[in-house]
């Protein structure tokens, strides 16, 4: 007996109060995402070009940019929802495939099946080869994680927008993705619900450790949630050239960050300037 297996989670002493630790609902192998000169054109119109960067396993990267600058296009390429891009895109060490099963997408709209209960909607995200009992246990845990256990039997139209978005997040987590892709998931929510959802996402990330790519147009949300922020934009000289990486910044501090911090305020005005907005 030498050392413990490298993958094993560090276990505290047996006497420690176990229930206080967040239960790892999903223990995925977080995967890296490598963009190598990724571009995308729709019918001759270049939307994205020359995107090169690496997202480390377990990292949260926010993709920030003005409307229509190709944020979602980049995210859809990672999820294999759109395979028309140029360049090279690796998840882990394998190229992305059509509807890549190593990723899971949380869409801007919850996209729940209206005829299925919340529980059955979350089941939709389970991997196909998972045993029934294991699947049920995982859905139970996810329902608990997103706080919907007592609404599991309801249909999507019977719950609020915020709850629907939580169900959508749980569905994405059900397949234990190596990379979680979120496309402005909180964009349609009211300000208060949005803050709660951001906290939930931080909890989820803390307990799963999955890599997260988060598309957003909200500077504060990006600064609150991300380790790094990828700012996409077009060159001011010629917007028709297509968007590319304008800057890639590391957000100072660790989560949860103080929303009133000076450093964040400075970074914020820098990002707003990058988005072409006067920060006053």
């Amino acid at each position: 007996m030498t050392s413990a297996p490298a993958l094993e989670q560090p276990v505290s002493t047996a006497e420690s109060a176990e229930p206080e630790l967040p239960t790892p609902v999903v223990a995925p192998e977080s995967l890296s995402v490598k963009f190598n000169d990724v571009g995308r054109a729709f019918g001759g119109r270049t939307v994205l070009r020359n995107v090169t960067m690496t997202v480390n396993p377990g990292e949260v990267v926010a993709i920030l940019g003005a409307s229509g600058c190709g944020k979602s296009t980049l995210l859809r390429a990672v999820g294999g929802l759109d395979v028309g891009f140029t360049g090279e895109l690796l998840i882990g060490d394998r190229a992305v495939s059509r509807y890549d099963e190593r990723t899971a997408v949380g869409f801007q709209e919850p996209r729940l099946l209206p005829w299925r209960s919340i529980r059955r909607n979350i089941e939709l995200g389970l991997p196909r080869d998972l045993e029934k009992s294991a699947g049920k246990a995982r859905v139970d845990e996810l329902l608990d994680l997103v706080g919907l256990s007592d609404r599991a039997h309801l249909r999507p139209r019977e719950i609020s927008g915020g709850m629907a978005q939580r169900a959508s997040l749980a569905r994405a987590l059900a397949r234990q993705p190596g990379v979680l892709l979120l496309d402005e998931p909180f964009g349609a929510l009211d300000a208060l619900t949005r803050l709660k959802m951001q906290d939930l996402l931080m909890d989820v990330h803390a307990s799963t450790g999955t890599t997260v790519l988060l598309v957003t147009h909200d500077v504060n949300e990006a600064m609150q949630l991300a380790d790094r922020i990828l700012l996409l934009g077009c060159p001011d000289s010629d917007p028709a050239e297509g968007a590319t990486v304008k800057s890639l910044v590391t957000v100072p501090g660790t989560r949860p960050r103080n929303r009133a911090s000076q450093d964040l305020a400075r970074l914020g005005s820098q990002l707003y300037a990058g988005l072409g907005v006067d920060s006053h």
Binding site: L81, V105, E109, R111, P114, W115, R157, E158, I159
Partner: protein, 267 residues
């Protein structure tokens, strides 16, 4: 997709004041009509028996036909024709509608042709059916099937074409494709419009039944209509009409029960 909906428990069920209260309310107007009918034929004597026989003579006509078993034969054969025609027509409509609704190639290839056939008023097929199939049982069932086919085809086809692409993409993103995608997302999404198509098709089936039986038949409710007209038996004529109304309503209600069950599961 709807975005925000207030959370609330299901609306409280309206307390039923009377068991079967809805049926009683629904029966009020028909009873009133029968009452007025009785009034104008009996006590007021506004019509002669050849113009408008009294309700009781219609019932007597029914009882008279019941004696020889003729009434059951007429009703039985008509119901059989409608059900067979409806089943064949609806099945064909479901199949072809699904094929064209799901496959772009099949749609491009066949939809203009089906659309052209749909543009032909269905009764225009009658002379051709008479020549090719004859107006025996086969011809009648075929005509009813044609009547039932198009509403089902159109509703299935357009519903499948218009399944929310967001939902389909979400299904695909979670690894669903082919038959699994069809049964998990596409078919449940089209259940409500398909049932409206089926109910429309059933009504069409009764319409085409009468058309077929008026043309040529030796039994059935359409035959009862034309025979009573020829013999001046207005009482039997009215009986046939009342029976058509009742049978049409019953079959539609049965389909409605199945629809409610399906909507509970799928919608």
């Amino acid at each position: 997709m709807t975005t925000t909906l207030a959370t609330q428990s299901a609306p409280p069920r309206r307390a039923k004041s009377l068991p079967g209260g809805r049926i009683l309310i629904g029966a009020a107007v028909p009873l009133l009509i029968v009452g007025v009918w009785w009034l104008v034929t009996g006590p007021l004597n506004l019509f002669t028996a050849t113009q408008l026989p009294a309700p009781q003579s219609v019932i007597e006509a029914g009882v008279g036909l019941l004696d020889g078993g003729a009434l059951f034969a007429h009703v039985g054969v008509s119901v059989q024709r409608v059900l067979l025609g409806f089943l064949f027509g609806a099945a064909a409509g479901l199949l072809l509608g699904s094929l064209l609704g799901l496959s772009r190639i099949a749609d491009g290839l066949l939809h203009p042709t089906v659309g052209a056939f749909r543009a032909v008023p269905s009764l225009a097929w009658v002379p051709l059916i008479l020549l090719w199939v004859g107006i025996g049982e086969d011809g009648k069932v075929l005509l009813i099937a044609i009547g039932a086919f198009f509403p089902v085809f159109t509703s299935v086809h357009s519903a499948l074409r218009h399944v929310d692409p967001h939902l389909v993409e979400a299904g695909r993103a979670f690894g669903y494709h082919g038959t699994r995608l069809l049964t998990a997302v596409q078919l449940p999404a089209v259940v409500p419009p398909v049932f409206s198509g089926l109910r429309l098709a059933l009504a069409q089936s009764w319409l085409f039944l009468v058309a077929a039986e008026l043309l040529a038949s030796s039994e059935g409710l359409g035959f009862l209509l034309i025979e009573s007209q020829n013999n001046g038996r207005v009482d039997r004529l009215l009986l046939a009409i009342v029976l058509l109304a009742i049978l049409g309503k019953i079959t539609d209600a049965l389909l409605g029960v199945i629809e409610r069950k399906a909507l509970k599961t799928w919608a």
